[in-house]
């Protein structure tokens, strides 16, 4: 992904459907996915093939529609209909769909489009149609480079998602995680980054030292993480574009659990000194270090509220791991979890309304959410071992990781990435080429 590729939007025909016949409610468990027909984008004559990573893509219109379908399917909200049932050809459907044909195969929404690939340029346009009301709902066009064809598919998916649910989408995003290989006693870990659908995997470190718990900066250009480089566990910054890594600050002991502040100007993290871990921030520009918590307990896993005014964190000051909220200057610390069990890894939703967490009770691990005052605790999923949820940028989906049981030889061990909707539905394995852990979701790339 190149940050300097611009995507230009031309809004040339937008109709606001007053009737809103086709609509998706994402606040409740969606047991009735919307049947949607995604027609392959018609490739205009004279278009060139796309050469990418040793492969030649002849029909990028078809490939774009496949990526959109997979996004829709994985969201659990849509039911993309099988293409072999489509009657109308893609070029005609884009101009004038025969709604009766689409109604016959039970489609309620239809996506059509066309794409042209010339030297160094890809131009695509798409339309979303309400089949039931027989009306056009959106029409948009984009211009980018041919290698970015996947992002076109993700942006189209987001636009459709937004139009039908009323919420921002999350398809044009990336996930950073830790790729794991090797025996359980001597795991080799590398920072890895991929599109949210698993494509375009890139490894950012070599695996010569342990790396853990990476997080994106708000602009998605930097990553902060813990590295055991030279056997000194410290928080680092990595520039995704250049690959350059630098240690954060000059701390005389282990720093860990790093995240960016919402404005991207600070790193917040834990610093362990003489057995005590407190939360500190460091201003990246001014290099000023501030101590935020002052307690003999373990204070870690901090997470800012989206407006930067509050911090939720994990502390065992009551004796066992619980979750606390404080003002971002460290004042007014309030405990928010009082249920039975241990609580950890709190993360504030980008919508500001909820905090997701890991809970451990009677030997079982849970991923849950609660309101920011600790009320309304809802456990979404239970497992032998799972932790560390991370929010999609629209605050509707959580990604986390699981580990399986193993014997004393390490047989049976695996670490995998999973996602689940806020409703508790649509629990899904996210396939990665190696084992994976510590996933973290980027913000929307197009912002």
């Amino acid at each position: 992904m190149k940050k300097f590729i611009t995507i230009i939007f031309f809004l040339f025909f937008y109709q606001n459907s007053v009737f809103a016949v086709v609509e998706i409610d994402i606040t409740r468990g969606n047991l009735d996915p919307l049947p949607i027909a995604v027609s392959p984008l018609h490739v205009e004559s004279g278009s060139k093939d796309i050469k990418q990573g040793g492969k030649i893509i002849k029909n990028v219109g078809e490939e774009i529609s496949k990526v959109i379908e997979i996004n829709f399917k994985r969201s659990g909200l849509f039911n993309p209909l099988k293409k072999d049932s489509f009657v109308q050809s893609s070029d005609i459907a884009h101009v004038k769909p025969r709604f009766e044909d689409w109604k016959l195969i039970k489609a309620q929404a239809l996506v059509t489009g066309k794409v042209k690939v010339s030297e160094g340029k890809l131009r695509a346009e798409f339309r979303l149609w309400d089949v039931v009301a027989a009306k056009e709902m959106i029409a948009l066009a984009f211009s980018t480079t041919p290698e970015n064809w996947r992002r076109v598919a993700h942006i189209i998916s987001d636009k459709i998602y937004q139009r039908l649910t009323g919420e921002e989408g999350y398809f044009d995003t990336r996930i950073i995680y830790v790729s794991e290989t090797g025996p359980k006693t001597q795991r080799i870990k590398k920072l890895a980054i991929m599109d949210q659908d698993g494509a375009n995997v890139k490894y950012l470190t070599l695996g010569n030292e342990l790396v853990l718990t990476p997080r994106f900066s708000p602009t998605n250009q930097l990553v902060t993480y813990l590295s055991y480089f030279r056997n000194l566990p410290r928080v680092y910054l990595l520039d995704i574009e250049t690959g350059i890594q630098e240690v954060v600050g000059d701390f005389p002991g282990m720093t860990f659990a790093p995240r960016f502040s919402p404005d991207g100007k600070k790193i917040i993290m834990s610093f362990a000194k003489d057995g005590n871990s407190d939360i500190y921030t460091m201003d990246l520009e001014k290099r000023v270090v501030e101590k935020i918590t002052e307690h003999s307990s373990i204070d870690t896993s901090p997470s800012y509220s989206p407006n930067g005014k509050y911090i939720v964190f994990n502390s065992d000051r009551s004796g066992l791991q619980q979750i606390y909220v404080m003002r971002s200057d460290g004042s007014n610390v309030k405990r928010v979890t009082f249920g039975k069990g241990l609580y950890g890894t709190p993360v504030w939703s980008p919508r500001g309304d909820l905090i997701a967490f890991t809970k451990v009770h009677k030997g079982k691990f849970y991923i849950g959410v609660m309101r920011t005052d600790g009320s309304g605790e809802r456990l979404l999923t239970e497992n032998f071992y799972q932790e560390a949820p991370s929010w999609s940028p629209n605050g509707r989906v959580l990604i986390f990781y699981r580990e399986t049981k193993s014997d004393s030889e390490g047989k049976g061990f695996s670490a995998t990435l999973w996602s689940i909707d806020l409703t508790g539905y649509n629990e899904r394995l996210i396939k990665t080429e190696t084992d994976g852990s510590d996933p973290s979701w980027s913000s929307l790339l197009s912002k």
């Binding site: 006693t185 282990m254 860990f256 362990a272 057995g275 896993s301 932790e387 560390a388 193993s406």
Partner: protein, 159 residues
């Protein structure tokens, strides 16, 4: 006469029970736990003759048990003799907890060991500390015995 006969019986019973308990402890894979602190001999290595390299902890705790303090006093005595040796004290946790908290817990355990060695006259400059959290288990098993072996602090000779 009667006393000697009943004494023999008592001795017989005592020897029999000793034999039985001896059999139980010589089985190869029988680890032991007290509470949930590992008390077995599996995974233990030696810094020097009679000087064990590690101590074990209860779940979520960094408190040194009596057995742990015994081991550490021997480590301290060895380090007082070998004045040119420096060590790295590793802190570890089992896998049954969140990753970041376990990093902090490992650090706390390693520091508990460091503090104790310092009270026995070892200067802090010879003792560096590193936490591995749950990243480097010594036993891959997903069972309480394996986890108890992983809740440890290991003293390693610095190179």
């Amino acid at each position: 006469m009667n006393l000697s006969a009943s004494l023999k019986k008592v001795l017989l019973v005592v020897f029999a029970s000793l034999l039985l308990s001896a059999c139980a402890t010589t089985t190869k894979k029988s680890g032991q736990m007290q509470g949930d602190v590992y008390t077995g001999s599996d995974t233990i290595e030696y810094l020097a003759s009679g000087v064990q390299d590690r101590v074990f902890f209860a779940t979520n705790k960094s408190v040194l048990t009596t057995a742990a303090r015994d081991v550490l006093r021997k480590q301290a005595a060895w380090m007082r003799k070998k004045k040119d040796i420096s060590v790295t004290i590793e802190g570890h946790a089992d896998e049954r907890g969140t990753r970041e908290y376990n990093l902090a817990l490992g650090e706390r355990r390693a520091n508990a060991v460091k503090d104790y060695l310092m009270t026995y006259g070892i200067s802090g400059g010879r003792l560096s500390v590193i936490s591995y959290g749950k990243e480097r288990p010594v036993d891959s098993g997903s069972n309480p015995l394996a986890w108890s072996k992983n809740r440890r602090s290991v003293t390693v000779k610095a190179k």
